[in-house]
């Protein structure tokens, strides 16, 4: 599936060059050029597949050059005598949406990148089968077990700040809410972004029935609520906000990849909400055996060793945790609602947040 990188201009660019360079005043020429153009469009490169192909749907950043995808692909292909094909979709919600749209005809074997807030919804679609893997994670700060969904990494949601701009960050929701009005926070929409939903559940874990009032008290600090994680994070990096809702592992990226140690996550006394990312096998997977092999591979040292410094999350195996992660905050308390609780209450809680924010 990896195409040679050396080709500078692929062959199918040519029709466009014809269109722009040749004089196109002759009608017949124009028509034939257009026809050739249109006919050449949908020609997809056919894959020469003599090996079985394992198709995995995941989110884009996983498969990007800097993400874990390429290394994991090489590692697994080295041991399975198969072709691993990552299909990158825009987000974890995009993955679930795609398999829901495709239903029983989905060409995917595995989806990788759902999180525990989505698993109950995913399980209710009836599109998944037990993973049957024997290896279990040993690095989760909470009990999590599922026959269907295999954890592959996890993290805490946290507010990230710039030490150069804010020397003393708030150490709890209480402190954040009562802080001076000049603290500016940017968060994500719980309806469209995983961290946004994480914050909603975090507030709910801490404040329960009082969450709506607390949201209202927090609102004056919130600069804006963005659609996705990147929008919020870049607003923060651009200086539009003092704190951004992200992961407790975000500073590790700046430290390890950029050598910048001025970013840190604020540790909150109440505790932090967790996100566990999982993979699952589709019921109608074309390659069920290969898929099961991959599920075992997930807990192996190779996969786990790649994850922390490419996906910037904690590995699910203790032994795989890199040195740079030592300096990260260690929450005393980890919150996690069960998948079923989230599925049952999410709509009501989102509505509660909406009305608290509009009030």
């Amino acid at each position: 599936m990896t195409a040679p990188r050396s080709t500078f201009i692929p062959k199918h660019v040519c029709p466009i060059f014809i269109l722009s360079m040749e004089p196109i005043f002759m009608k017949k020429r124009l028509y034939s050029v257009l026809a050739a153009l249109l006919l050449s469009l949908p020609l997809m490169p056919a894959s020469a597949a003599d090996k079985p192909v394992l198709t995995i749907y995941t989110y884009e950043s996983f498969t990007s050059e800097w993400g874990p995808g390429p290394q994991i692909e090489a590692a697994f292909e080295g041991q399975c005598n198969c072709d691993l094909n990552f299909v990158a979709l825009d987000s974890s919600i995009g993955i679930l949406g795609r398999v829901q749209l495709e239903g029983d005809n989905s060409p995917a074997d595995i989806v990788l990148g759902l999180d525990t807030n989505l698993t109950a919804i995913a399980a209710n679609t009836g599109l998944f089968q037990p993973h049957g893997a024997s290896n279990a994670p040993d690095n989760l700060p909470t009990d999590y077990s599922s026959d269907t969904f295999m954890p592959f990494d996890w993290g805490y949601f946290a507010f990230v700040y710039d030490k150069n701009r804010m020397a003393e960050p708030p150490r709890s929701f209480e402190a954040l809410i009562n802080a001076d009005d000049d603290i500016r926070v940017v968060i994500q929409d719980p309806r469209t972004a995983t961290p946004g939903l994480g914050l909603l559940l975090w507030m709910k874990s801490v404040y329960g029935d009082k969450a709506a009032d607390m949201w209202q008290a927090l609102n004056p600090k919130i600069v804006t609520v963005t659609k996705g994680w990147w929008d919020a994070y870049s607003l923060f990096l651009e200086g539009e906000a003092d704190m951004v809702l992200s992961y407790s592992t975000s500073p590790a990226y700046h430290q390890i990849a950029e050598g910048a140690d001025n970013y840190a996550a604020a540790a909150f006394d109440e505790g932090h909400y967790m996100q566990i990312e999982v993979a699952a096998i589709l019921k109608n997977a074309p390659q069920p055996e290969l898929a099961k092999d991959f599920m075992n591979f997930i807990q192996g040292p190779e996969f786990q060793g790649i994850i922390p410094t490419t996906n910037w999350m904690y590995p699910t195996q203790k032994s795989a945790e890199p040195d740079g992660f030592d300096g990260l905050i260690q929450p005393t308390n980890a919150f996690l609602f069960s998948a079923q609780e989230v599925a049952d209450n999410k709509d009501a809680w989102v509505n509660e947040w909406l009305s608290a924010s509009v009030r």
Partner: protein, 547 residues
């Protein structure tokens, strides 16, 4: 036939009427099928009653309308003022560059545009570092959404009004110059009637664009209190996967926008002067006074500050070098190819549809069938109001049993992007087409010119400006679009905006800067290239025929 048979009767063509009707019918049928498919996945009375009692939904409707109307007002005022200033100043150094740069805001990816706006207006932006900072509100909210909408749409209004002003008949302008009209008289006798003719259509379009705005609203709205129906449709579709709810909300949006469009009056014929060639500049009598010079200078500087400075800041602040390796990857070139072919395909598709609707409008006008003209006006904007994502989802569900949808993503995208560009194409092509069909009808009847020859030798060459502009704009819009592709895209089929969007999901996405710049430049290139190509082709055809 009796003596009373109107002359127009002789120019009617039933086949053209039928062809036009089939176009409108296909559009409305597609809209109906889309909503029906989604409703068909399980519309329940419970859902409807729940929606009726949803207080947040009521809030969403109110705020959607409010921000859209505010945006339209400001965009119109600024656009008209800008057009007047540019018109009064006539030809000056940098005029066309300024106009083009203004216009490029329209075709920028909205996330990038929002960031560029914040580089100027944001808390750590340029203005915040000046004493003017005290005037900046310290939270994003309604004002920032309206500002962004003005940034996007004022250039469009300006461009339309300016072309209308530049094409006022030479005789009028000469008389005005001879009579030494005062600025006020100039405005009330010449400028305002000219602008008034084009305003309803362009205001309607801007209203639709603002009411269905989505990424900008989420990024700059400052929270869920400033939102649009489009946001709710997106969340119910993507996050809740509640298809009937999404269909219901789309239907609501369709009704709401359809009704509100009536506020702006008829779209028909209103932009007829839109893309007449910019001709001779006559110095206006009111242009030379010091007050007017100051006034125009201020307005033009304001436009530069509003529309051009953010784009410049974006370019200067961006880190272009770290994106260079991207140009060596095959992934980039294949995304580029996909985007360009898609843009060209979609713009031709939109053009053909616009012609079909034009036929219908013309024939209906000959027959005094006013309701058909209304239908025409409505059907062209249906797919601006029904979100592309709804269209895409419905098509996916409909087609998945019959074909591998992902492998045919190209065609669905072309359809979707073409439909998205149709409202622009329609407004550019149809008024001119109707006018030309009317003007050439006696000639054609007299000489029995066959239909095909009529289009090849008369209509298309004389509409080359309109066609070039429409093709260019559609291609540019389609090139930058990030709608349906989020449903169908994957690394085996991606477009440049999708590639950009997928970069924006991880830490340190430095290549995004270069990619965004390439995206904007290519969109401008397509926009200009299409106009040049059509102009060249049409001129040459006309020359050949006249020999």
């Amino acid at each position: 036939m009796s003596v009373n048979t109107p002359l127009s009767h002789y120019f009617q063509s039933n086949s053209r009427y039928v062809i036009g009707f089939s176009g409108v019918f296909a559009l409305l049928l597609l809209a109906f099928i889309c909503l029906w498919t989604l409703f068909g996945t399980g519309l329940s009375v419970a859902l409807l009653t729940q929606m009726m009692h949803d207080s947040y939904l009521a809030h969403v409707i109110v705020i959607t309308v409010k921000q859209a109307l505010l945006s339209v007002c400001f965009a119109t005022i600024i656009g008209v003022l800008g057009a007047l200033a540019f018109h009064r100043r006539g030809r000056f150094f940098g005029r066309s560059i300024l106009l083009l740069t203004c216009f490029s805001a329209m075709i920028m990816p909205s996330t990038v545009a929002a960031l560029s706006l914040l580089k100027l207006w944001g808390q750590s932006g340029l203005i915040a570092q000046t004493p003017l900072a005290i005037f900046l509100p310290d939270r994003l909210g309604l004002w920032s959404v309206v500002l962004a909408h003005v940034f996007f749409n004022a250039p469009l209004v300006m461009r339309v009004c300016l072309t209308a002003l530049d094409s006022t008949p030479l005789s009028q302008r000469r008389s005005a110059a001879l009579l030494c009209l005062s600025p006020w008289h100039y405005w009330s006798v010449i400028d305002w009637p000219t602008i008034r003719a084009v305003l309803p259509a362009i205001m309607g379009l801007v209203f639709l664009l603002c009411a269905t705005s989505f990424s900008l609203v989420l990024m700059l709205g400052g929270g869920p209190s400033v939102t649009t129906l489009e946001v709710s449709i997106y969340t119910s579709l993507r996050f809740e996967f509640d298809l009937p709810k999404a269909a219901f909300l789309s239907f609501l949006q369709l009704v709401l926008c359809g009704l509100l469009l009536q506020l702006f009056g008829k779209t028909r014929h209103s932009i007829s002067a839109l893309s007449r060639p910019e001709g001779i500049f006559v110095t206006r009598a009111d242009a030379s006074s010091l007050l007017m010079r100051l006034c125009d200078g201020t307005i033009i500087c304001g436009i530069i500050l509003l529309n051009i400075v953010p784009i410049m800041l974006l370019i200067f602040a961006s880190d272009l070098t770290s994106g260079l390796p991207l140009l060596m990857t095959e992934r980039f070139w294949s995304a580029l190819t996909n985007s360009v072919t898609l843009a060209i395909g979609a713009s031709f598709f939109a053009l053909i549809l616009a012609f079909l609707l034009g036929f219908l409008a013309y024939e209906a006008q000959l027959r005094d069938h006013h309701w058909v003209v209304k239908l025409c006006d409505f059907s062209q904007s249906v797919f601006l109001i029904i979100p592309a994502l709804v269209l895409g989802t419905a098509l996916f569900i409909l087609l998945r049993a019959h074909m591998d949808v992902s492998a045919n993503a190209f065609w669905i995208l072309m359809l979707g992007n073409g439909l998205l560009a149709l409202p622009f194409c329609y407004r550019l092509i149809v008024p001119a087409l109707v006018r030309h069909l009317g003007e050439t009808a006696p000639l054609v009847a007299l000489w029995h010119i066959p239909a095909m020859q009529r289009y090849a030798t008369i209509i298309i060459p004389s509409l080359r400006n309109e066609i070039g502009f429409a093709l260019g704009l559609s291609a540019a819009l389609s090139f930058g679009d990030l709608g349906i592709i989020t449903l169908f895209g994957s690394q085996s089929f991606e477009t440049l905006p999708y590639m950009l969007f997928s970069f924006l999901n991880r830490y340190g996405a430095k290549e995004a800067d270069l990619l965004a710049l390439i995206l904007v430049l290519l969109a401008i290139g397509l926009y200009l290239g299409a106009q040049k190509a059509v102009g060249y082709w049409a001129r040459h055809t006309a020359q050949v025929k006249s020999c």
